[in-house]
């Protein structure tokens, strides 16, 4: 019943070792889509596979996939999380790029990679582009699962965009070119580390005007609140915080970190949108 409800909603889904059997077709579609995007589209030929499924050594039972699915189960975007307790991209393939600091290696540190969006113009029914929901979903998940940081090798332009967010994203190395071999295009990226906590999630969702949880219910996780998916303590706390605190208090906390533009947007938003009461929040279709 819950699964049927969720599958109708266009939300962010978390797929891991606990529930991947329920998403077998979706995962297969994702690997096909990644092949189409990264191999056919970006021309990363070294990832080409005869079966048309883009999978590498970091697609294992320990991988977690965060996917934005449409109400028709169409994949609109995704990202992969991988534990740092073993081999990772940053401690193998991109090890030499970490010239400022090494990637943290611990159960609470994860690596993110294979970010993709199929249609940048797509908007949710709340008017949010896929990348916002995807990142917010990843942060919700990470905070709920007590993940302290996400590291990964990202494009320089993505790093610059991240600087506009109230995020503590640090460089582990300097911008360098990669690829360019055997006819592959040359990219320009750097290794980074994003530190996470509940405040950061709260600020991110405030900047993006996301008041409610956006993760779908998730089945099978060994989390004490798994009966209600990842709408766990952290997410509920944010919901409560936004319900109880005045918009002035929230903005005051953000002033030091966010850009003027974002603050202006937030001010406009909170002026024109009354803070939802808990009863309104509970009617929200999560």
């Amino acid at each position: 019943m819950i699964a049927a409800f969720e599958r109708r909603a266009s939300m962010i889904h978390v797929i891991n070792k606990h529930n991947r059997h329920l998403y077998r077709n979706t995962l297969n579609d994702m690997f096909q889509l990644r092949h189409s995007i990264f191999v056919d589209g970006k021309k990363w030929d070294h990832l080409r596979k005869p079966n048309g499924l883009e999978q590498d050594e970091f697609d294992t039972i320990n991988s977690t996939y965060i996917l934005k699915l449409s109400s028709e189960d169409e994949i609109l975007g995704g990202m992969r999380l991988y534990p740092t307790t073993g081999p990772t991209q940053l401690n193998t393939i991109f090890k030499d790029t970490c010239v400022l600091s090494a990637q943290p290696s611990a159960p609470e540190h994860y690596e993110w990679s294979r970010y993709f969006i199929t249609d940048p113009r797509h908007r949710s029914k709340h008017g949010k582009p896929v990348h916002m929901e995807l990142y917010a979903g990843i942060l919700e998940y990470a905070v709920a699962m007590n993940i302290k940081s996400l590291s990964g090798y990202i494009e320089v332009n993505t790093f610059m965009r991240s600087k506009r967010m109230p995020w503590d994203m640090r460089q582990l190395g300097i911008p360098t070119e990669y690829g360019g071999k055997n006819g592959e295009p040359t990219g320009y990226g750097l290794p980074t580390l994003l530190t996470l906590d509940e405040t950061m999630l709260q600020k991110t969702k405030a900047v993006w005007r996301m008041i409610f949880p956006i993760l779908s219910l998730s089945l099978g996780a060994d989390h004490k609140d798994s009966w209600q998916g990842y709408k766990a303590e952290a997410v509920i706390a944010i919901q409560n915080a936004l319900s109880l605190r005045s918009s002035d208090a929230i903005i005051h906390d953000l002033v030091e970190d966010i850009t003027f533009q974002a603050e202006e947007e937030m001010s406009e938003y909170f002026l024109s949108h009354p803070t939802p009461s808990p009863s309104t929040a509970s009617r929200y279709p999560i």
Binding site: E155, N157, K163, I174
Partner: protein, 258 residues
């Protein structure tokens, strides 16, 4: 090689004003052989009523010369920057000179930078500030006599640029919010009075603007090439031109010729 960058990144969050930021940037960049540094907000540059450096503008003689003569209107770096697709990869001055077809005055600018300011190589870093319409770009250009192409050095300078730009933006936005006036950091005096040229000097400049050589002008005027050269030198001195091309540009700018 990375110790100085690490030290810079550690100190950056403690910086509270643009002035403090510049004091932090300057020795860091000089450590990496940078002697010229400018970061401007590219938005609105076309009209050029204002030049808005986001941070860092070393008041070197070259920068003063560049700004005073409105070189940004014709600078190949600026024009190339505007046509970028936003991939964010920095490019070197010498690569731009080698790969792009530049106009005579654009070559002349690089030649002046080389000869006058001894800026033999430079790096330009595109910074996409916003992706709205129109796109807002920041231009960071840095150069030095002993600066050379090196991928690691480029990565270091790009890191300093991104992080400094972000910090500068935070500071400027905060000051703007609190009502503090952010002055333009360039005193641009295009209308400064110039010493009056003689009719003969103006005529020679007109000939130069028409593409005539000193020999051509000497023939028309029935004077020796040496005399024409002396008159060009005198005119250049009066209006602060460094080359004959520069003399023509300035004469046009000041309305001496049309």
């Amino acid at each position: 090689m990375f110790d100085v960058l690490n030290e810079f990144l550690n100190k950056l969050p403690l910086v509270k004003t643009i002035s403090e930021l510049e004091k932090l940037i300057e020795p860091t960049l000089k450590h990496y052989h940078i002697e010229h540094f400018i970061c401007t907000n590219m938005y609105g540059l076309e009209g050029m009523n204002d030049l808005k450096p986001m941070f860092g503008l070393w008041n070197t003689p070259w920068v003063e010369h560049y700004v005073r003569n409105s070189y940004y209107n014709e600078d190949a770096i600026v024009l190339y920057q505007k046509g970028l697709d936003g991939n964010g990869i920095p490019f070197y001055w010498t690569d731009l000179i080698a790969e792009k077809k530049l106009t005579k005055s654009q070559y002349s600018m690089f030649a002046e930078a080389w000869k006058v300011a001894k800026l033999k190589e430079g790096l330009v870093i595109p910074l996409l500030i916003s992706e709205g319409e129109p796109e807002e770009l920041a231009l960071v250009s840095m150069a030095g006599e002993h600066f050379t192409q090196d991928p690691s050095l480029r990565g270091i300078l790009h890191s300093i640029t991104i992080q400094s730009h972000h910090r500068a933006r935070q500071i400027i936005m905060r000051e703007h919010r609190t009502g503090k006036y952010i002055p333009n950091r360039v005193v641009w005096d295009a209308d400064r009075p110039v010493e009056k040229l003689t009719n003969t000097e103006i005529t020679i400049i007109r000939y130069l603007a028409d593409g005539k050589t000193i020999t051509d002008i000497a023939k028309f005027s029935e004077k020796s090439p040496k005399t024409i050269s002396n008159q060009i030198r005198a005119a250049s001195k009066k209006i602060g031109a460094l080359t004959t091309t520069h003399l023509v540009i300035l004469a046009k700018r000041h309305g001496i010729i049309t």
